[in-house]
Symmetry: C2
Subunit: 341 residues, 2 copies
DNA sequence: CTGTTAGCGCGTTCAC
DNA sequence: GTGAACGCGCTAACAG
């Protein structure tokens, strides 16, 4: 029932295993006739040589680095992946890139367990997923170096993370400096389903900026919901229906900002003339639609993350920390100074 | 110099290999003291158990399906990958997704060779890359089932491909029906660096449509260059500088269409009032910027391709062909009827 | 040219 | 509870 081995092939062809191995490896020292015999035996049995046995025997192990991320529709994963890929190619080492997709938040732990159990990976990059202490310990114990691209890690060496609080502050500050006082926040509910606190952190920056500018907090201006353009669209509609709607919106991601903009336009209003909108991330899309946003260097984070991981893999005793460039305010066309009507 | 094995650990801890194996697998039947001895020996030696040996021994091989594609900045790879991922998750089988990135066209063959040599993969999805007969034979001989997401395969069972000629025809026809007669084609030089004939096929559709509508072909309206938004931008500028510039542009991809639009706007003209633009692909971006385009169901093609591959893997004797939905004209805001000035 | 044999590193029976 | 021996499927070195 199990797959045929070279022994089966050898028997079927009436030769020794060595010969089978030789034709498999295109060794020249095989007579054409026996080669044919072996070849047809291989075909007849549907033989396929075992990768693992081969690797064990040759000692040639190609190593895998795994990237595990929630494969959500969000474009940010692409940008990070691009960076990962770039780092991999720069180093020119023969690591395979194995992609693990977390479809449901609940399955992350299960998948992590499987990865550890199978020893499937030599190093792991964990993107946009919250790693519990227990999970950290699991990986450490298994001897699998890992780097997280989390949004809320605080000064851990093996984590690449932007300063989300500061980013939230910067976005809100920009709006405040433009004279806006009725500023809404549209973001993910927190903690979000994957357990990362991105939205909360950016929200805290939002609060801090409001306080700094002595602008009273208004709970009706805070709209939280599941991540996505559609949700942001709906939330914005409720915002617009308010007796005193906001004059500016800080969306916690560019995709959500798009939802906001579409909702505003759908209500017959203009961006930025009637309402200013600022996003967060600076994904590629934002360039094309001219969205003002906070650039968090997503590609860089993937790049640095993988570079760090490779560093941990090659010289564990000499791991040099990596630093993300500071967040930048990218001015484009969706914000403008507040004008009273 | 080589990595320590359980034998080394056993010797260092003064126990047998069996015991080491037991603590490794959390077998309960180990006394706490010996467990500690083993554990510290493991730590001292920096032991990490071999993945391959373990797999060989347990017989638990997890299978890999490889996806090889040019990891260009082009967003279409993302869409296909999303489809691939979806198919993988729908089947709920424990295949690992291994990503191979072709950075330089010349390296594709080399990478393919490596994949075959290492038997790294149980099935291969080859996206947007031209596979020579020699390479096909290589894969067949190695017993690696593969599916291509090529742009120019003609009725092969293991290929998912849109009808690019027809797509080119549809795009051009749309422009012609709107009354345009001065229609430019902006596309990749062909064959492009990766050897696939996409641009040429769509161009042939363009020609066919022109002929059908008795519109004389004008070579100055055909602008070819390396793929990318920037190139399209430049090419469009030369188009606009023509004594008699086109009134409509068919760009062979959405990204290039974006380049065209930006160039047109940069010249102080409007889209579609002054010049109509139609793209090809219907990537996500196009929805946001309201680009009229030909939808080629990229995600679907990834989905169907992987589904087909899994089908070939599980029941090689009963491979059912897959069919891509027909191309669709997606009307958005970048084309309008021709108006003479 | 070809058959035989000894590992590759680990899990897993067996006896002890 | 623990050590020794065998086998996973294949390669490579050694005889013939």
């Amino acid at each position: 029932m199990s797959n045929p081995t070279i022994y089966d092939v050898a028997r079927a062809a009436g030769v020794g295993v060595g010969t089978v191995s030789r034709v498999l490896n295109n060794s020249t020292r095989v007579s054409p006739e026996t080669q044919q015999k072996v070849l047809s035996a291989i075909r007849a049995l549907g033989f396929r040589r075992s990768k693992v046995a081969r690797q064990l025997s040759t000692g040639i192990q190609h190593r895998n680095i795994g990237v595990i991320l929630p494969f959500i529709t969000h474009p940010s994963f692409v940008e990070r992946l691009r960076g990962v890929q770039l780092a991999l190619q720069d180093q020119d080492n023969d690591f395979n890139l194995v992609l693990y997709n977390v479809t449901e938040p609940g399955r992350f732990h299960e998948q992590l367990l499987a990865i550890v159990e199978q020893a499937a990976v030599d190093g792991l990059l964990i993107a946009t997923l919250n790693v519990s202490d227990e999970q950290r310990a699991l990986l450490v114990e298994a001897g699998i170096p890992f780097v997280t691209l989390s949004d809320g890690c605080t000064g851990q060496l093996n984590c690449i993370s932007p300063d989300n609080i500061r980013g939230g502050y910067m976005a809100t500050q920009h709006l405040l400096e433009l004279g806006h006082r009725r500023i809404a926040y549209v973001g993910d509910e927190f903690p979000n389903i994957y357990g990362f606190p991105t939205s909360e952190l950016r929200y805290r920056g939002y609060l801090a900026a409001l306080e700094e500018y002595d602008v009273p907090f208004r709970s009706e201006y805070v709209c939280l919901g599941p991540h996505g353009e559609d949700t942001a669209h709906r939330l914005t509609e409720t915002l617009l229906a308010l007796p005193e709607p906001p004059t500016a919106i800080f969306a916690m991601s560019d995709i959500q900002a798009v939802g906001c903009i579409l909702a505003i336009r759908g209500a017959g209003l203009r961006v930025p003339e009637d309402i200013s909108v600022i996003g967060f991330d600076d994904v590629q899309l934002s360039r094309y639609i001219g969205l003002t946003t906070i650039r968090q260097h997503l590609e860089q984070s993937g790049y640095l993350g993988l570079q760090l991981l490779l560093n941990m893999l090659s010289t564990p005793d000499n791991v040099v920390p990596r630093q993300l460039p500071p967040l930048e305010l990218v001015l484009r066309g969706t914000t403008q100074p507040y004008k009273s009507l």
